[in-house]
Amino acid sequence: MSTISSKSMADSLRNIGSILVEYQVIQDPSPLISASTSLLRISNSSKKKDINKWSYVIHPCAPLEFKAVEIKYLNAFVKPRIYSTIEINSERLDKGLPPFSRLDCALEVLNEIDNRLLLRTHIDLANQDGIRIQDGPLHHIQFGGHQPDGNRALEIAVKEPRWLHPPLDLILLCEVVVANFYPNEWEEIKKDSRWCDLIVDSQKMCLDPFYKHILNFLSISSRTVLEQSWAKNWCA
């Protein structure tokens, strides 16, 4: 099973930025361009042994901001924004794991007028510190967490549950945002082959290895899927 090279991901981030601007769902693609540039740096400086490992960050202080959109049932305009930290180590594929050694893709929805946090959710990978690994599914989605102004004292207190969920990278999270918050643009953008090609590439990296293993888990009747996808079991 193959994964995307750092050079390909650099191109993908740049192209998704260009397309999102073209369809007028974002104004400022610079967080994507910045992440793309950091990948190009890795791609050019990588020694042969490191070509399977790369990473990029869209910082919480400079997230990818989508244009404000009206939510009628709230009688308010909201601004979705996403940021992420992604580390790929494709050697993990050989160990029967999806290729992420770090994955944190956060989606926040703020009230446009006063920046009040209305929703925070993030696609996550169970934290691992040496042999200790966080309780919960290896790949999961979680709600709550950090406040957008960096004030840890205001964090939402309860972190559970961690729901079993396939890994989504930044590009797939962009698709989720466009599909859910910009239905008119979504109707057009999904007909664009450039967009579809980028989504398909990310699906191959994120979803193929995940669902392959989930299907295997389903074939074992003595243990539940949730139990087998629990981080300590999947990584055992």
Binding site: G17, V21, T37, S38, N44, V57, E112, P148, G150
Partner: protein, 378 residues
Amino acid sequence: MIDTQLRAVFVDDRSVDKQYMDRLARANESKIKWSFLTPEKNVEDFSDMLLAEKYDLIVLDYRLDEFPIHNSNHQIVNRYRAATLTQYLREKSIKNPETDLPIVVVSHEPNVHEYYDPDLTAHDLFDYVYLKKDINSSSNGIAQQLFSLIECYSKVRQFFESGQRSIDLVNILQLEPEEDAIIDFQEIQEIKKLFAPHQIVRCIYRIFVKQAGLLLSYEDMLARLGFSYQNSFDREKLEKILENKKIKYTGIFSSGWPRWWRHRFDAWMEETIGNDWGALTALDRTKKLNNALGLSFIPALSRITNDSNFLCAVRCISCDQPTALMHAVPSYESRRYLFLEKQRVCWACVSTGEYENRQIVLDVSANRTIERLKKSGF
């Protein structure tokens, strides 16, 4: 490096304004020999004369037609402004790019706003526009920028003089050859197809120097570092560290407009305080960086929350202070490049109207927030 004695001419219809040239000459007398001229011929003859003199720099007052100058037949000869004169000069430099040279406007503020600003077709002709009053307050800085412009043209002209079909951007920008992918954008590569040095120099200024993008200004960097402007002593120490790490930009414009490569800066931040530095508040970033680098910077203070516990990210283009992205609105930009960062104005400047003094126009996409801030503050 330029070794020969450089020559500049200052053209103004008011002889009394030679004082501004004198200030510039005093600021860098060792580098440039200055001459003063009034527009004493008609536009064609005057432009021919300027080119024949082979100056390295031309400085023009914008209103060259305010005080009539008569020829021997008692006819007024200076019936033109800087834009018309420069149009002649630029046309000739397209035919002979090896004679192209920097041309800047130095004018009184009312003339700039009343005559230059509305003359949109003139804006692409000049390398820069300075106000005469700014020469009083910062002649050294302006003189250094003028010298830098001469260096820019000298470097770019070399490609035309050597008969190369297109300029080598990696060389002009002093990137490492393996970094060429950083500038692999169509809008940047199109620079290679331009016809004259003045077109290339203007384009590089607009794409790389004018606003944050692939390069960062010192103030842009402070917003990322989480530092306040206070503590000028440590600015030198910080700049030295960045220079040693090869983050400082050394390509054209760098001697007049100091800039730093964003991709190298981001990599250095990761190496120094980890790749989650963008999740740290200004207070935490400053503590970590001061500890790691032996600096004593003060953390930036949010003008909105009056606190350093904020995720500062960008410079407000109105007050130049670091601000959180969520406490800023975008400014309007008529031309956008993917690799440039959207410019922002902080909520404090919006609510007080400070941005209006700097001729900044806000983006209508933020109208609801702008109305709320103007009505009831933040």
